[in-house]
C-alpha cells in the first residue's frame, strides 16, 4: 500500500518487472496495512484471499528486484531477512521477470497499474468456481501475442454469429451476450498484432451488431488502431486484463461448447477460455429483457458468488437519550455499555428501535465515536423535529425549496446541507469552498487565542463568549485547494467540513475557525467525491485512481483502500449504519464495500452510463443509483438484486435523496427537473419470495410512470443537490444558468 500511495512511478517500475505478480501482491499488502492502521479498532482484517504461498513469494521477489534496481540495498537486506528468502531464489526469478518486463515495454502509467491492482483484487474471490478459472495472468497478458490467421477472424465471428442466430430463441438471447466481448477481444487482438486494416474491416463489419449501450466503449475502441495506443488506454487495459463476466444457463453453454468443438473453432474458444468468465447456472435461460437489465457495465455482469456475502444492512440501535438530557449515570452507560450489554437494556427501555434488527451488524462491529454532550443535544433536537415531521406519500408530496446559487460564474460543482439544514456548503470550480448560513444565525469564528485567554471560562455562556462577533457574516469562503472542488460534506456535528478536489487532496475544514485543519493526501489524482460517515469520524473518498479510501479524521493515511472498480470512482456514500460504503463508478457498476475488512460485498450491474449519484434508503435496506443515462436503479442490498428502474430524466442525475421516512425518492438532474418517485410502492411490488430464488433473475416491471409522483421544473437551474429537512421539506440546490 505504501507503494500505491507514494508514487505511481515506483509501481510502474515494479509492474515492468513482473506485473502479474505485483497485482496479487499489492492487494495482499493493502489488506495487511489496512488492518495495521486501524489501530483504534479491535478488528482483524480478513486476509485478502486468493493468493497462494507461491505467489506471495513471487511478489516478494518482485519487490526485491525493484528495490535492488533502485539501489536500496539496505531495504533489500531487511526484506530478505524478514521474508527468509535466499538469494538464489531471487536470482532464478529475476531472469523470467526481466524477460517479461522487456516484452511489456515501458508503456503504461499508474492508472493502468491501478487498474490491474483493482482487477485482481476484485477478480480474485475467495471461493473459486469448480471450473478452472483461476486467471492465469501471464496467459492473459501474452494472449494477444498468439497469432491466429487475421483474415479468418471475420469468418470465425460470422460463423459464431450464424450459429447463435440459428439456435432456439431461448438460447439465442443468452448466447448473444457473447457478441460484445468476443468482438472487442478479437478486434484488440488484431490491433495488438498490427493488422490495422483487418482490424478496421472487422470493426466496420460487426460494430453495428452490438448493443446500443456499448456505444461509448465502441467509440473509444474505434479510435484505437495501433498497438502503441493500447498501452496507455485505461479502458482497453481493463479488457485485456479483466475477464468479462457472462451469466449463461447450463443448457446454452453446452450448446455453445458443442458448436465450437465441432467446428474446431479454436480461436474463439481460446478467447472464451482466456478472457471471458462464464458463470453457468442451472435453470431456465434468461430472457432478453432480463439480460439487458443487468448488462451494460464495463466488465459484464457480476458473478453470483460476489454478491453472496452476507450484508448487515440493518440499522444500529439509537443510543438511549431521554428528552430531558439524562444524568451522568445514564450517559456513562451509553458510552461504555454501547456493546452487547446494551442489547438487554435497550429492550427494557422502550424506543422505536427497541427490537434488535436481525439484519443489523453488531453495535461494535465498527468502532464508532462516542457521543458528546452536544451530539446528544442534537439528537434531542432531532427527535423533537421528527415529531413534527410530515408524513409523505403519494397523496402528500413534499414542498420544495430551491436554493439557487446566483452569480456563480466560477462554476458550482458540489453542494451539501447539514443534516439540520442550517448550513449550506458549495464547492466551486475556482478551488474555493463557500459556506452559507441558511438560518438567520450568522457564521462566526472563534476568537484568537489571545482573546480566548481573557474570557471567563466558568461562565455559563462560554460557548457564546468564545465566538468573535466581529467576524459574523452570512457566508465564509474557504481557500486552500488548488483545483476545482468536486465534493463537499458536512460532519454530522456540524463542526467540520470535508472537501475533495482535483488537486488530489481531501481537506478537512473547521467550521469554528473556518480554517483548513488537515489535507489528506493519498489519491494522487482528482478526488471526485467524499462523504462523512453518519456517525462522524470516518469518511470515505473516491477518485480518478479507481479506488475509494476510508479515512479517519485523526489519521493522515487511509484505513482502508477499496480497490476493484475498473474506472474512476465517481461517488461515494456511507450506509446509514456506517458499516458499509457504496461507490459508483465510471465502469457503470455500483459496489458495496465492507468497512470492517475492506471486501467488496456487492457488485451491482445494470447501469448503462457512469454513475453520479447514490442514496441509501433510511432503513438501510435499499440503494438508489442514478447515472448519466438518466435512469435511477433501485437495489435490494440484502440480496444484491436490482428491484426497480425509474426512467424519466433526460440527463445526468446528480442528486438522489430519500425522504426521512423513505416513502419518497427525490431525484435531481441536469435536465432542470426534480422528480419524486413512490419508493414504497417500488419496494413493495417486488415480491420477497423471488429474492430467495437462487437464480436472482427478476422481471422488472416497467412501471416508471406509475411510480413517478411529480415532476418539478426549475428555471434553467440544474439540480446539483437534494436534501430532506428533518420535517421532510425538500431542499434543492443548483446554480442558475443564464444561457
Amino acid at each position: 500500500m505504501a507503494a500505491v500511495q507514494d508514487g505511481p512511478k515506483e509501481l510502474d517500475a515494479e509492474k515492468e518487472t513482473k506485473p502479474e505478480i505485483l497485482s496479487d501482491g499489492t492487494s495482499n499488502l493493502l489488506g495487511n496495512t489496512a488492518s495495521g492502521t486501524l489501530s483504534s479498532s479491535p478488528l482483524t482484517a480478513a486476509p485478502a484471499g486468493g493468493a497462494t504461498k507461491m505467489e506471495d513469494q513471487q511478489t516478494l521477489i518482485a519487490v526485491l528486484q525493484f528495490l535492488k534496481r533502485n539501489k536500496l540495498s539496505e531495504s533489500v537486506e531487511i526484506l530478505r531477512r524478514e521474508a527468509g528468502l535466499g538469494e538464489h531464489q531471487e536470482d532464478s526469478q529475476a531472469t523470467d521477470g526481466s524477460g517479461g518486463g522487456k516484452g511489456d515495454g515501458d508503456g503504461g502509467d499508474a492508472n493502468s497499474l491501478l487498474s490491474r491492482v483493482s482487477i485482481t483484487s476484485a477478480a480474485a474471490p475467495q471461493s473459486m468456481p469448480v471450473k478452472k478459472d483461476q486467471p492465469d495472468v501471464s496467459v492473459v497478458l501474452s494472449a494477444y501475442s498468439q497469432q491466429g490467421d487475421p483474415s479468418l477472424y471475420q469468418v470465425y465471428y460470422s460463423g459464431l454469429k450464424n450459429f447463435i442466430e440459428s439456435v432456439l430463441d431461448c438460447h439465442r438471447a443468452e448466447l448473444s451476450q457473447l457478441f460484445y466481448p468476443l468482438f472487442v477481444h478479437m478486434y484488440l487482438e488484431l490491433v495488438y498484432n498490427n493488422h490495422e486494416t483487418k482490424a478496421k474491416a472487422f470493426f466496420d463489419k460487426f460494430s453495428g451488431d452490438q448493443e446500443c449501450y456499448y456505444q461509448d466503449d465502441l467509440r473509444i475502441l474505434c479510435s484505437l488502431t495501433k498497438k502503441e495506443h493500447l498501452k496507455g488506454n485505461e479502458v482497453l487495459l481493463d479488457f485485456r486484463t479483466s475477464r468479462f463476466v457472462l451469466r449463461i444457463s447450463r443448457d446454452s453453454y453446452q450448446l455453445l461448447k458443442r458448436h465450437l468443438q465441432e467446428r474446431h473453432n479454436n480461436q474463439i474458444w481460446n478467447i472464451i477460455q482466456e478472457h471471458l468468465y462464464i458463470d453457468i447456472f442451472d435453470g431456465m435461460p434468461r430472457s432478453k429483457s432480463q439480460i439487458d437489465s443487468m448488462s451494460g457495465s464495463l466488465a459484464g455482469e457480476a458473478r453470483r458468488e460476489v454478491n453472496k456475502a452476507k450484508v448487515f444492512y440493518g440499522l444500529l440501535k439509537e443510543p438511549e437519550i431521554e428528552v430531558p438530557l439524562d444524568d451522568e449515570d445514564d450517559e456513562a452507560e451509553n458510552e461504555e455499555g454501547k456493546p452487547k450489554k446494551k442489547k438487554t437494556k435497550k429492550d427494557s427501555l422502550g424506543s422505536k428501535s427497541k427490537k434488535q434488527d436481525p439484519n443489523a451488524p453488531q453495535q461494535n462491529r465498527i468502532p464508532l465515536p462516542e457521543l458528546k454532550d452536544s451530539d446528544k443535544l442534537d439528537k434531542i433536537m432531532y427527535m423533537k423535529e421528527s415529531t413534527k415531521r410530515i408524513r409523505l406519500g403519494p397523496e402528500n408530496l413534499p414542498s420544495i425549496c430551491f436554493y439557487t446559487f446566483l452569480n456563480a460564474f466560477q462554476g458550482l460543482t458540489a453542494v451539501d446541507f447539514t443534516d439540520d439544514s442550517s448550513l449550506l456548503a458549495g464547492g466551486f470550480a475556482d478551488s474555493t469552498v463557500r459556506v452559507w448560513s441558511v438560518t438567520p444565525k450568522k457564521l462566526r469564528k472563534v476568537k484568537s487565542t489571545a482573546e480566548l485567554n481573557v474570557i471567563d471560562k466558568e461562565s455559563d455562556d462560554v460557548l457564546e463568549r468564545i465566538m468573535d462577533e466581529k467576524t459574523a457574516s452570512e457566508s465564509k469562503i474557504l481557500h486552500g485547494h488548488s483545483g476545482p472542488v468536486y465534493g463537499v460534506s458536512f460532519s454530522p456535528d456540524r463542526n467540520y467540513l470535508l472537501s475533495s478536489s482535483e488537486d488530489g487532496t481531501v481537506r478537512l475544514w473547521s467550521l469554528q475557525t473556518f480554517t483548513c485543519l488537515v489535507g489528506y493526501k493519498g489519491h494522487n489524482y482528482p478526488v471526485w467525491d467524499t462523504q462523512f460517515s453518519p456517525f462522524g469520524y470516518y469518511f470515505v473518498s473516491g477518485g480518478h485512481d479507481r479506488v475509494a479510501r476510508l479515512w479517519a479524521m485523526d489519521h493522515y493515511q487511509p484505513l482502508r483502500i477499496f480497490a476493484g472498480h475498473l474506472a474512476d470512482v465517481t461517488c461515494t456514500r456511507f450506509h446509514p449504519n456506517s458499516n458499509y460504503v457504496a461507490t459508483g463508478s465510471t465502469d457503470r457498476t455500483v459496489r458495496l464495500w465492507d468497512v470492517l475488512n475492506g471486501n467488496c460485498v456487492r457488485i451491482l450491474t445494470g447501469h448503462k452510463g457512469p454513475i453520479h449519484s447514490l442514496a441509501f434508503s433510511p432503513n438501510g435496506k435499499f440503494l438508489a443509483s442514478g447515472s448519466t443515462d438518466g435512469r435511477v436503479l433501485l437495489w435490494d442490498i440484502g440480496h444484491g438484486l436490482m428491484i426497480g428502474e425509474l426512467k424519466g430524466h433526460t440527463d445526468t442525475i446528480y442528486a438522489l435523496k430519500f425522504s426521512r421516512d423513505g416513502e419518497i425518492l427525490a431525484s435531481g438532474s441536469m435536465d432542470n427537473t426534480v422528480r419524486l418517485w413512490d419508493s414504497m410502492k417500488a419496494f413493495d411490488e417486488v415480491e420477497t419470495d423471488d429474492f430467495t430464488a437462487t437464480t436472482g433473475h427478476i422481471h422488472l416491471p416497467d412501471n416508471s410512470q406509475e411510480l413517478l409522483l411529480g415532476m418539478y421544473h426549475s428555471k434553467s437551474t440544474p439540480v446539483t443537490h437534494l436534501h430532506f429537512t428533518r420535517r421532510n421539506l425538500l431542499l434543492a440546490a443548483g446554480t442558475y444558468n443564464s444561457q
Binding site: 436554493y403 446559487f405 458550482l412
Partner: protein
C-alpha cells in the same frame, strides 16, 4: 467508402505544421503522425469530458481539456481561456480557416486606469418553488448583478450595440450608431456606454477604435432622449483625450490622427453647442488645459495641433483669448521648426505645417467673426431689440458650434467690449483686454503675411451674390467697415471667409470633411447682404440656407483650394500678387497663379509660405501630405 467517424487531421496539415517548425516529413511519417495525433486528441477529449461531467456542466471548456492534458503530463494550451466563443473565420482566398486572435497591447492594458468592475458576489437565494407539490406562481425574482436594474433585453442590447460598434462590419456599425442616436429607451445604459467610451485611453494605439468610440460619443450626444447629466464630463474628458494626447497611434506618421483630432474637436464643439447648460462649468477648465498644452514646448506638435483645433472648436472667442495672445510666443517655436530644412526634421516640419495651418484657420475665423460681431453690434443698435434677437437666433441656427452658447454673438449692442461680460460662466478674463480688429489683423498679418489674404480670397463667389470683380472682396473686407468705420486698414483683405469645417451639423464623419462648412458659406454672404438690407438677408439666409450653402461651398473648395487635375476647367483664374511679409521672416515676393493644371515646377521648394494654406486645411485626406517631404509640393 467507409464513413468517417471522427474529425481527422490530414497528413497535409501535419506536414505543414512540421514545415513551419523546420522539419521535413516524409509521406509515411506524416501519415503515421496524423493518425497518432488524431488518436491522442480523441483520448484527451475523452478524458476531458470527465472533468466536464464532474463540474456538472454540459459544455466542454478549454479548462477541461487543459486539465486532461495536465494529468497526462502534456503541456497545456494557453490563451484560449476566454468564456466567449472564439470566432473561427475562413480566409477568402483559398480554403484556409483560422481562429481570430487579436493582438493585445499588454502595456496599455496594464497601465489602463479604468479597472473593469468585478462580477457580482456569488450568493444563494431561496425560493419556495413548489408548495405541497403545487407550483409557486410568485415570480422568482431577478438575478442580482453588478449591472443592477438592467433587464435582460437591455443587457443584450448593450452587448449587441457595443459589439457592433467596435466590431468589423461598417454597415452594422452605422446601424448601431443610428439606433444609439435615436433610441429612446436606453437611458439606463448610459453609464455603461460612457464607461465603454472611457476606454479610449486603452486603445490609443488604434485609430480605428478611437474613431468608433468618438462616433459613439456623437450618437449619445445627439440622442434627444438622453439626459447626459454628469456623464457629460466623462464624455468630454474622453473627447479631450483624443484631441490633446500624443496618442500611441501618432508615432507612425502614416496614421491619420489629425483627422481624428479634428473630429474630436468637432465633437467637443458640438457638445458645447448642444449641451451648453451641462458643460458650461467645464468651459474655463478646458480653456486652461488647452492653454497649458499650447504653452508647453515639450509637448509634441500633434498635441499643439489638438490644442489649436480645440480652441477653434470652442469658438472664436476662445481663439481670441487664448490662442491670439499666445501666438507671438508660440510663433517663435513654430518658426524654428518650419525653418529647419534638415532631412531629419522633415517629419516634425510636416507636423509643424499642420499646426501652422490650424492656427491660420483659427485666426481667420477669429478675424471674420470679429468683424461680423462688429457689424451685428452696430446693426443691433440701429435696428432695435427685436431685430437683434431674431438676428441672434438665426445666427445660432446657421452657425451652430461656432461659439459656445454662453457667449451669444450678438446679444448686447455694446461692441467688442460686451464679450468681456459675456465671457461665459465662470470665465474670469479680467486681465484680458480686447484688441481691436485692425490691430489684430495687423498683428496676424505680420505672422502669416499674404497667406491670410489668400485664404480670404477663396471666399469670393460666396453668399449667392456673385462678386462683381476682384475689388469686391476688397470691399468685402471693407464692408463691415461701413458699420465699423474705425477700421483704417487699407491692406488688401479681400473677403472674410473661414474655412470652417467644424460644424456639428455635418454628419460627423471626418472622411466627408471636404463637405462644406455651412458657416463659411453663409456668413460672409449674409454680412454682405446685410450691409444693404439686413432684414432681407435674414429672411433669405434662413429660408434657403441649407441647400445653397452646401452646394456653393462644394463648388468653391475644390477650385480654390485643390485645383486637382481632374477638377476640370476652373471657373475662374486669377493671380494674386503680393508681398509676403513676416515679422520674423524676410519679406518675399511671390506670385501665385491659379490655373487649371498648375505645374509643380513653378514652385520653388524652399518657399513654404504660399503652400501653407493648403497644408493647414483640415478637409482633404491629409494623409497624402504627411507621407513624405515631397508632400509639400502641392499643385496650388
Amino acid at each position: 467508402m467507409e464513413e468517417r467517424r471522427f474529425a481527422e487531421v490530414p497528413r497535409e496539415s501535419i506536414k505543414l505544421m512540421a514545415e513551419s517548425s523546420g522539419v521535413e516529413l516524409s509521406e509515411e511519417v506524416a501519415a503515421l503522425l496524423a493518425e497518432d495525433v488524431c488518436y491522442r486528441l480523441r483520448e484527451a477529449t475523452q478524458n476531458s469530458s470527465q472533468f466536464m461531467r464532474h463540474a456538472k456542466r454540459r459544455k466542454l471548456s478549454v479548462e477541461d481539456l487543459n486539465r486532461a492534458l495536465r494529468w497526462s503530463n502534456t503541456e497545456t494550451i494557453c490563451g484560449y481561456g476566454a468564456q466567449d466563443a472564439l470566432p473561427f473565420r475562413p480566409l477568402k482566398e483559398g480554403e484556409l480557416f483560422f481562429v481570430e486572435d487579436r493582438e493585445i497591447n499588454l502595456v496599455e492594458l496594464a497601465l489602463a486606469t479604468n479597472i473593469p468592475k468585478g462580477c457580482a458576489e456569488t450568493m444563494v437565494r431561496v425560493h419556495v418553488s413548489y408548495l405541497d407539490g403545487k407550483g409557486n406562481l410568485e415570480p422568482q425574482g431577478t438575478v442580482p448583478t453588478a449591472v443592477q436594474s438592467l433587464s435582460e433585453d437591455l443587457l443584450k442590447y448593450y452587448q449587441q450595440i457595443t459589439r457592433a460598434i467596435l466590431g468589423e462590419d461598417p454597415h452594422l456599425m452605422k446601424v448601431a450608431l443610428l439606433d444609439l442616436q435615436s433610441n429612446s429607451k436606453i437611458a439606463a445604459l448610459l453609464p455603461y456606454f460612457v464607461y465603454v467610451i472611457s476606454g479610449v485611453k486603452s486603445v490609443s494605439h488604434d485609430l480605428d477604435q478611437l474613431n468608433r468610440l468618438l462616433h459613439m460619443v456623437k450618437s449619445l450626444v445627439q440622442n434627444p432622449y438622453l439626459y447626459l447629466g454628469s456623464y457629460v464630463r466623462s464624455l468630454v474628458s474622453s473627447v479631450m483625450y483624443c484631441i490633446l494626447e500624443p496618442l500611441a497611434a501618432s508615432i507612425n506618421p502614416l496614421n491619420d490622427h489629425w483627422t481624428l483630432r479634428d473630429y474630436a474637436a468637432l465633437l467637443l464643439s458640438h457638445i458645447f453647442w448642444t449641451h451648453g447648460d451641462l458643460v458650461s462649468g467645464l468651459y474655463h477648465q478646458i480653456l486652461l488645459s488647452l492653454q497649458k498644452v499650447l504653452s508647453d514646448p515639450v509637448r509634441p506638435l500633434c498635441s499643439h495641433y489638438g490644442a489649436v483645433v480645440g480652441l477653434h472648436a470652442l469658438g472664436w472667442k476662445a481663439v481670441e483669448r487664448v490662442l491670439y495672445p499666445h501666438l507671438p510666443a508660440y510663433w517663435a517655436n513654430l518658426q524654428a521648426v518650419l525653418d529647419d530644412y534638415s532631412v531629419s526634421n522633415a517629419q516634425v516640419k510636416a507636423d509643424g505645417h499642420k499646426v501652422y495651418g490650424a492656427i491660420l484657420v483659427a485666426v481667420e475665423r477669429l478675424l471674420k467673426m470679429k468683424a461680423l460681431s462688429l457689424t451685428l453690434a452696430a446693426e443691433g443698435s440701429g435696428a432695435g431689440l427685436p431685430g437683434t434677437t431674431t438676428g441672434a437666433v438665426s445666427f445660432r441656427e446657421n452657425s451652430p458650434g461656432l461659439s459656445p452658447p454662453p457667449e451669444p454673438l450678438s446679444e448686447p449692442p455694446l461692441g467688442i467690449a460686451s464679450h468681456l461680460q459675456a465671457g461665459g460662466a465662470g470665465c474670469p478674463w479680467e486681465e484680458w483686454t480686447p484688441v481691436s480688429l485692425p490691430a489684430m489683423y495687423c498683428e496676424l498679418y505680420s505672422f502669416f503675411g499674404d497667406s491670410l489674404a489668400v485664404r480670404f480670397s477663396t471666399g469670393l463667389p460666396l453668399g449667392g451674390v456673385p462678386p462683381p470683380g476682384p475689388c469686391q472682396p476688397l470691399e468685402g473686407r471693407k464692408e463691415p467697415a461701413s458699420s465699423a468705420p474705425n477700421l483704417e486698414n487699407t491692406r488688401k483683405m479681400p473677403q472674410l471667409t473661414a474655412s470652417m469645417n467644424i460644424s456639428p451639423r455635418q454628419d460627423g464623419s471626418p472622411r466627408m470633411e471636404p463637405q462644406p462648412p455651412s458657416l463659411a458659406a453663409t456668413v460672409p454672404g449674409r454680412s454682405l447682404a446685410r450691409s444693404s438690407s439686413s432684414s432681407v438677408s435674414r429672411s433669405r439666409s434662413s429660408s434657403s440656407r441649407p441647400g445653397r450653402s452646401t452646394s456653393q461651398s462644394r463648388d468653391i473648395f475644390p477650385k480654390a483650394r485643390f485645383p486637382l487635375p481632374q477638377a476640370g476647367p476652373p471657373a475662374f483664374s486669377f493671380i494674386i500678387g503680393g508681398r509676403q511679409m513676416g515679422r520674423r521672416c524676410q519679406g518675399r515676393r511671390f506670385q501665385t497663379s491659379f490655373s487649371p493644371t498648375p505645374p509643380l515646377t513653378t514652385h520653388p521648394p524652399r518657399a513654404y509660405a504660399h503652400k501653407l494654406p493648403v497644408i493647414g486645411r483640415v478637409s482633404k485626406p491629409v494623409r497624402r501630405w504627411t507621407c513624405s517631404h515631397y508632400s509639400l509640393h502641392l499643385p496650388l
